[in-house]
């Protein structure tokens, strides 16, 4: 088990290193931040000077070494577009996205586990069929569309909740929750629908297993057998999907962030790309990649916690 963990940690570190080189190389290939800053009528002289100030005229390897050296010390550098330190910006934006994703995933789980389980247990009945179809519809609706529709109805038409924005929870907890309900729902309901399909098929798989028949034979009702023994086993494939979903949402939340004007990491990335803010983009992407890798690492470790059989491999 320990060797497995160390191996995964090594893969994690190598992937992160490769990612940083790829990201850096890609960004030095596209666009010219100096021209973006100076506009169309800039003189060649001004362009050369600005490139020099930004350090873009140095060799690729030197630029990379400086940047990665700073990153290793936790210094993301100072943006030459906003002239602000990038690290704190990423921290702030990431925190916002974490609130968004955490709430969204809780909603997703609250929807997916009961719906998926019921749909599986009652898969031959009308209830199961209806739940199954509903989750199919949920998958078909993109979360930003769900967001737009909910804003149109609940915020604009009924005036019950704000249409968007973000306040720090410590400053105004009520305002924070009021603004986050719709984003959580639009993210969570759609992700929940996706997840519910996996829960259903995982539970269905387990229902055919011998141990469940044994449990039933011991006198447990089908429900109790599924909840007590089936869910634990079904949670392994579900956990895998959950991990992948988390990573997708981290990046995919940008659309929901745009609809609800939430200053998260996705919006920060898109804005920085549009402004050719190369250092900021590098910092954000490496952060996202690191988080994605960390999530898959945690998911791997969680398998062994849930399923003791895996510890022996």
């Amino acid at each position: 088990m320990w060797w497995g963990l160390v191996r995964r940690l090594l893969i994690f570190l190598i992937s992160a290193a490769v990612a940083s080189v790829v990201v850096f190389a890609l960004l030095t290939l596209v666009g010219d931040p100096a021209r973006t800053a100076l506009g169309t009528n800039a003189t060649p002289q001004a362009l050369i000077e600005t490139r020099h100030q930004m350090g873009l005229d140095r060799p690729f390897a030197t630029q990379y070494a400086t940047w990665i050296g700073g990153m290793l010390h936790g210094d993301f550098g100072t943006s030459y577009v906003t002239h602000l330190a990038i690290g704190p910006q990423i921290g702030q934006r990431l925190m916002v996205t974490m609130w968004l994703i955490a709430g969204g995933m809780i909603v997703a789980l609250l929807v997916a586990i009961p719906v998926g389980t019921i749909a599986a247990v009652k898969h031959r009945t009308a209830t199961g069929w209806i739940l199954s179809s509903l989750s199919q519809v949920g998958i078909a609706i993109p979360s930003f569309l769900a967001g737009i529709l909910m804003v149109a109805l609940i915020s604009v038409k009924l005036g019950w909740l704000p249409a968007g924005g973000f306040v720090v929870p410590a400053q105004d907890p009520g305002g924070f929750v009021a603004r986050m309900i719709l984003p959580w729902l639009s993210l969570g309901l759609v992700q929940g629908a996706v997840l519910a399909r996996y829960v259903r098929s995982a539970v269905l798989d387990e229902m055919g297993q011998d141990y469940l028949r044994t449990a039933r034979a011991k006198g447990l009702t089908q429900w109790r057998a599924v909840v007590r023994h089936g869910l634990r086993n079904a949670s392994i494939p579900v956990l895998t999907v959950l991990g992948v979903q988390l990573i997708t949402i981290l990046i995919g939340a940008v659309v929901v962030e745009r609809v609800f004007v939430i200053p998260g990491i996705g919006s920060y990335l898109v804005d920085s790309v549009a402004r050719q803010d190369r250092l900021a983009v590098q910092g954000i992407v490496v952060t996202i990649v690191a988080i994605s890798l960390a999530v898959s690492f945690v998911v791997d470790v969680a398998y062994t916690v849930i399923d003791p059989r895996l510890r022996r491999r």
Binding site: L38, A46, V81, T82, H83, A274, S296
Partner: protein, 544 residues
């Protein structure tokens, strides 16, 4: 288990794809001011016919303050939020181009020696009066006394001389070129500034109302990107990059104080989100309507006011005058005859705006109504194409990511198809537009763009093939040069000839003058109706 490894790879690839996708989706938000990366209209408008131009030796009135000239009620403790599209990249317009920074900072935080009124006339600002020598090369400004920067230091002629020199020596953005004509700027006394030009230039004083005329403090120029210290009615009290800029009333302001204590510029990348913010009371003003078709929801009842003012934006289908079939004047004229411009305006922009026929807007002092130069005439268009031997023709139309281009393109394609021209459209990112069409080899036939800068005819159509229009006509160059160096009457007369020649040559297919469409809560007043210069002056804003 190789899961972890595979997934790591997936994560890397996903991140890389994301970067590339982001690049192609990036709409060049800090794009140049004259190409108008968005519908954001920040150029000023002149309404009077002799506006914006110094008339020989002039002494302007000394009593009028540059702001707060409208009768606004007493200052309040209120806060108003405005919705905008393009967020400023930072606070420094000396090294960062684009409309967004001057939009929030100019006239609100930084002031200029002279300002432009809503009618386009040049008014006193930090200079209470000025005289121009007979040879039109020397300007003597009398600087207002008692003015301080928001940090408390007095503003004097020495600061003005410093600011002008600073444009010449330290500014890196393209617009700084307009200051090259200045030979010297000298503080004769704390209230007297003498500026000498190398040659007469009819547009220099007007340029001093734009961002290059901003008066800055020598003490703060090393921190311009994050701290804006000016003499204006507001100070910057908060800045969340890409989200908002908060302006707070400057209590040391020399003129009439701003009415609202706080004005928040809030930036929305999604027009629906901005509309919803107004509908739910999160903001009180939409300063840039991106989709005029969506205005209907604000029309019912008395809750909102729709402001339909003017800008200097000229939405045009630019033609590559120096390349291929479009270098033939008959083909360009045929295209103009083939287009039903009123129908395009109605279909693409809900009829808001004015059809134009040359590189001008109705508020330009040299405006000549040329909208009917090429009335919609399919037969005439076909005949011209036949004469040119181009009865069947295929052209490429490049579309930058701006709403008006996307809206106008399908109508244009179908209208040109009726005269036998096949148009192949392609979407280009703003970066690509800048690199390949505006710059580089100008590899394009047609493109649609809004040129938002005021009085930019000398840039866009200089008559020399040094701009992406590739338009060549020595007569135009001669008239423009003579006009800029001449007196006021010559200037106006020559520029009238220029816009007429441009229309005769069908140098482009001009479509419509871009409107300044805003929506406000009905109790919000004091917003400038026409898009003022490069700034959105909010000092007169108030609610009742």
């Amino acid at each position: 288990m190789t899961w972890s490894g595979t997934r790591s790879l997936v994560a890397v690839v996903a991140a890389a794809a994301l970067v590339l996708a982001g690049c192609s989706a990036g709409s060049g938000l800090t794009g140049s001011s004259e190409s108008g990366a968005s519908a954001s209209s920040t150029s000023e408008v002149t309404a009077s016919s002799n506006a914006g131009v110094p008339e020989g030796s002039t002494t302007a009135g000394a009593d009028q303050s540059s702001s707060g000239s409208a009768a606004t009620p007493a200052p309040s403790d209120g806060t108003l939020s405005l919705g905008l599209v393009l967020a400023p990249a930072n606070m420094d317009f000396t090294t960062t181009d684009g409309a967004a920074i001057p939009q929030v900072l100019l006239s609100n935080v930084y002031e200029t020696l002279v300002t432009q009124a809503q009618d386009g006339s040049i008014q006193p600002g930090l200079a209470k009066s000025w005289t121009v020598s007979a040879d039109a090369k020397t300007y003597d400004f009398t600087i207002r006394s008692g003015v301080t920067f928001s940090d408390g230091t007095p503003f004097t002629a020495a600061d003005a001389a410093f600011s002008i020199d600073y444009v010449k020596t330290k500014w890196t953005v393209g617009v700084a070129k307009a200051m090259e004509v200045v030979t010297s700027a000298t503080a004769v006394s704390p209230t007297e500034l003498k500026v000498v030009l190398a040659e007469p230039n009819a547009l220099w004083l007007f340029k001093m109302t734009t961002r290059i005329g901003a008066m800055m403090s020598p003490k703060h120029v090393d921190k311009l990107a994050t701290e804006a210290i000016g003499t204006g009615p507001f100070v910057v009290s908060g800045w969340q990059p890409n989200q908002s800029v908060t302006l707070t009333r400057n209590d040391k302001y020399w003129g009439s104080p701003a009415h609202e204590k706080n004005v928040v510029f809030t930036y929305f990348s999604d027009s629906t989100a901005m509309n919803n913010a107004l509908l739910t009371g999160a903001i009180q003003v939409i300063t840039t309507v991106q989709t005029p078709q969506a205005l209907a929801q604000f029309k019912s009842g008395n809750k909102y006011t729709i402001i339909n003012g003017t800008t200097n934006g000229k939405v045009m289908m630019t033609m590559n005058d120096g390349h291929g079939p479009l270098s033939d004047i008959r083909v360009r004229q045929a295209i103009n005859y083939a287009l039903d411009k009123p129908a395009i305006l109605k279909g693409a922009w809900a009829g808001y705006g004015t059809v134009i026929g040359s590189h001008e807007v109705p508020t330009d002092p040299w405006y000549v109504d040329l909208a009917n130069q090429y009335p919609h005439n399919i037969a005439k268009a076909k005949q011209l194409l036949a004469e040119a031997g181009k009865s069947s023709l295929t052209l490429r139309l490049a579309l930058p990511p701006v709403p008006y281009a996307a809206a106008a393109a399908p109508i244009i394609v179908s209208q040109l198809a009726q005269v036998g021209i096949t148009v192949k459209t392609s979407d280009v990112t703003f970066d690509n537009w800048l690199a390949k069409i505006f710059g580089g080899d100008h590899d394009y036939d047609l493109t649609i763009i809004n040129h938002v800068e005021q009085y930019d005819v000398t840039t866009v159509f200089s008559g020399k093939p040094d701009y992406y229009t590739q338009y060549t006509n020595p007569e135009v160059t001669k008239l423009e040069t003579a006009g800029l160096a001449g007196d006021h009457d010559t200037f106006i007369a020559d520029f009238k000839k220029v816009v007429t020649i441009l229309a005769d040559d069908a140098a482009a297919a001009w479509l419509w003058a871009f409107p300044n469409l805003m929506v406000t809560d009905s109790n919000v007043h004091g917003l400038p109706e026409n898009a003022i210069g490069e700034s959105l002056d909010v000092s007169g804003l108030y609610t009742d």
